[in-house]
Symmetry: C2
Subunit: 209 residues, 2 copies
DNA sequence: CTTTTGCCTAACCATTTGGTTAAATCATCT
DNA sequence: AGATGATTTAACCAAATGGTTAGGCAAAAG
């Protein structure tokens, strides 16, 4: 049969996924209640099990989707014809844009992986995450050998950039509390960081001529 | 009556707190099972309710303790008679030392606050967290006016330092997976960062003479 | 029109889980 | 030793929660 989009315009399955994503990322696997997901999606709880085998499987689907998104910015760094400086600036920019739009993503992925490290294996069995990392590494090593940037540990460079981009997002509630910023102010604070992060990293990296 | 330390050498209440800290920080409030905590402490489940009103209250006690520890390094920055450079280096060092020893702390606090922002108000009602921040701010502003460091947003500086220290700890599982390091290698990787983080920050900050 | 098929709902079920209770121990004081 | 009060245990309970089922309904197929 063909799916009926009659009144909701978006399929029930998609509504479930959207609702599950919202609840799982906010509450975590154990904190999420199937009833909450059903309510959020405005459907009967039984429909969850009609479209997905059980809570675990629904979670796995959402986790894979979100984890992929979390690492998606890395593609931007590795691909395309850009200077190394541009790669960094594009990477920072896209990373901050993605996580500004979905602020719950990084903490969700980080926490679930901490609770259950086996998720990593299961999720990235097929996705070539390590490949991307070694491409990144080659790019960095090439820049070093060419004398464009100083000698650095590529792992550390990657970690530093991601840390500077991601941490402000995951620590938003605490930093807002600490510095009495409202949501608008904090958004703009984070947005300004697109430039300052890039500057901090590149000033440290590029050899002055 | 006086407490009996007969065979365990450490009071039941302390055993419960240690067990609860372990389980809560690993699994989160909802993921933690009272039975798991009891098992971890090798006591009867009813004892949890003998010493603590309920799960919420036990959680609150643990959370307050851990949250306080998370922010404890900030004291080191603000107090004592040190140069600004030394303050930064001491801060980075103590931050990394603390979180290397208790790697689950930051993610735990960050996640629980995200799930329930009211925790912040409840926990830091009495602890002068904002005071510390404004002391930090004054220190930075003074260094700027003296011409020792370039003009920076103190909030951003604090955020950058913490990000660079904390993120490697909370992302350990993912980065270990990504870079195929074992635990020993990763510990040493993080330890080396005590110097590189300080260098990155201070090179950006101090005005070359 | 009738049948089939996919979609959906209300009611229900089994298990897990936080929490309680009554009775048993154990240590201390008299 | 016996009384007293703190500590501990096993058994139990009610509510919450993930999951199931029998049946209803609407639209396409015949």
């Amino acid at each position: 049969m063909v799916k009926a989009f009659s009144m909701s315009e978006v399929s029930t399955q998609e509504r479930i996924k959207a609702a599950a994503a919202k609840v799982f990322t906010m509450k975590g696997l154990e904190g999420a209640r199937m009833q909450d997901i059903a309510d959020e999606a405005n459907i009967n709880k039984a429909m969850l099990h009609y479209y997905f085998k059980n809570k675990q499987q629904l979670f796995q689907v959402i986790f894979e989707e979100k984890a992929t998104k979390v690492f998606s910015a890395l593609d931007l760094f590795v691909h395309g014809e850009l200077s190394f400086h541009q790669r960094i600036s594009k990477f920072v920019e896209s990373q901050i844009s993605i996580f500004s739009e979905f602020p719950t993503l990084p903490l969700f992925v980080l926490m679930e992986v901490r609770k259950n490290p086996a998720l990593l294996e299961a999720t990235f069995r097929n996705i070539p995450l390590q490949i991307k990392r070694s491409e990144f590494q080659s790019l960095v090593e090439n820049e070093i050998s060419v004398g464009n940037i100083r000698k650095v540990d590529p792992q550390e460079l990657l970690l530093n950039i991601i840390a500077l981009c991601v941490y402000p997002i995951i620590a938003e509630p605490i930093f807002r509390f600490l510095s009495d910023m409202d949501e608008i102010e904090y958004r703009s604070f984070i947005n300004r960081r697109k430039d300052t992060i890039t500057a901090l990293i590149t000033n440290d990296l590029f050899i002055k001529k």
